[in-house]
Amino acid sequence: MNIEIKGLRFTYPTGLEALKGINLTIQSGEQVAIVGQNGAGKTTLVRHFNGLLKPTSGSIFIGDWETTQFSVAKLASRVGYVFQNPDDQLFSRDVLSEITFGPRNLGYAKEKVDELVQRALTLTELSDKTETNPYDLSPTWRKMIALASIIAMDTPIVIFDEPTTGQDAVNVARIANVIAELKREGKTVITITHDIDFCAENFERVIALSNGQVLLDGPAREVLGQEEILAQTYVDPPQLTRLGKRLGLKETVTRQEEFLQALK
């Protein structure tokens, strides 16, 4: 299911013009990272994908649905959105019912709901915590519950807003696993992130936003190598990319294996 964005502009009621003409196509099954400085318009952009915001002008199509024609609750069957702060969405007394909430809202049959919930629990390593109250778990685990509650909705498109903020290495690895699994299932994953190394290691396409416009868009390796342009939106290239540049490697490298291969 493709996402088609044409001439998207968005102005907040306060008069702030957050998006100034965005044109993008995101193909079914792509893994896209959106980077850029604070206030570049990243969250504003992805909130258009599930209809939380409606364009001031221009259009967004999710498959054959134009977002203005559908409610957020309806669009939720195509676009899952994991908010940055899990505490903004957790309300149930136990992990299981929290994760069941989304798929049940979408009206799947009971067997399908159970199956989806089990799969989400396994993927997020929460299977042994189904009866725990989310508020008795650490913020790290609450993040995983939030992830699971969206994954269980089995939407073709999944959005993560800053999934790694405040997470330790172990949990970042867990989140990377989840993203890899979604990729295997052919889902589109769109992630907003400041963590550029995480971005380099888990995404094929990178879109850099600056000041409400697309600054760079392309394969991760191409985009992340453009040090000067990225600096305009306060983004540094990944650690290994910078190292490769300093060592004078001919090609831009972003991941460890690439780097080691290029070194030989």
């Binding site: 939380l52 609750a73 505490d87 903004d88 909430f101 979408l106």
Partner: protein, 257 residues
Amino acid sequence: MNPNRSFFVPVDSPLHRLNPLTKLTFVFAMILPAFLSVPELAPILAIPVFLAAFIGRVQKPYLNLLLKLILPTITFMFVMQSVFLPGGETILFMLGPFDVTQEAMRSAFFTVTRIFVMVSSFALLLLTTHPSELMSDLTQRGLPGQFAYVIISTLQILPQMQAKAQTIIAAQRSRGLDTESTFLKRAGSLVPLVSPLVFGSLAEVEERAIAIEARGFTSKKTKTSLHEISDTSFDKGLRWILVILILASVALRIWLS
């Protein structure tokens, strides 16, 4: 609400230049007589309150507030009181099955003018006084800092809670929660909305307490203030006149009863 999240309108006017306590005294000099004294006083007090908005050069936001908030409220109260207040004898007309009496309408009129005086004078105080200055002035006059903080932070944090509620609604709608349909469905969707708000607020209150404590909030030293607040002899004189007005109206009430 403006980006500064207060009602304050930053212009220069005789009202803006008054000491915050003087304006607070004015508020009470309008409210206390309106409620304690003879009912006929309230409509008379409404006139200076209304005019003060022009002296304070805040007539536009004031009239805006009047039209959007005050008038609808008092119109509603007026109709309800006129219809339901029992004991009237002079029936003016029928509204459906209800008698509307002259006595009920008269009483309703006085009630709503009292409300008008109260809400309007408070609105004027907020429109012409920077909230930080009001707080600084009151704490310097001996109001406990904690008390002043609770008042002012509540005013600030309410719009924040509203913003947080918006985020929670957005997050749950993204999970397929239908908040746009029938009332019954909406009632059922309250738990997913209210529960994160309550838990979130509890956590926030604790963290905020730590943050302000870390910045010396309960320090035993005498607090100072960034804002210099003038208190002229004109202010002092005006406050005495207002206090006398309050006392006189109360005396009038006692004398008449």
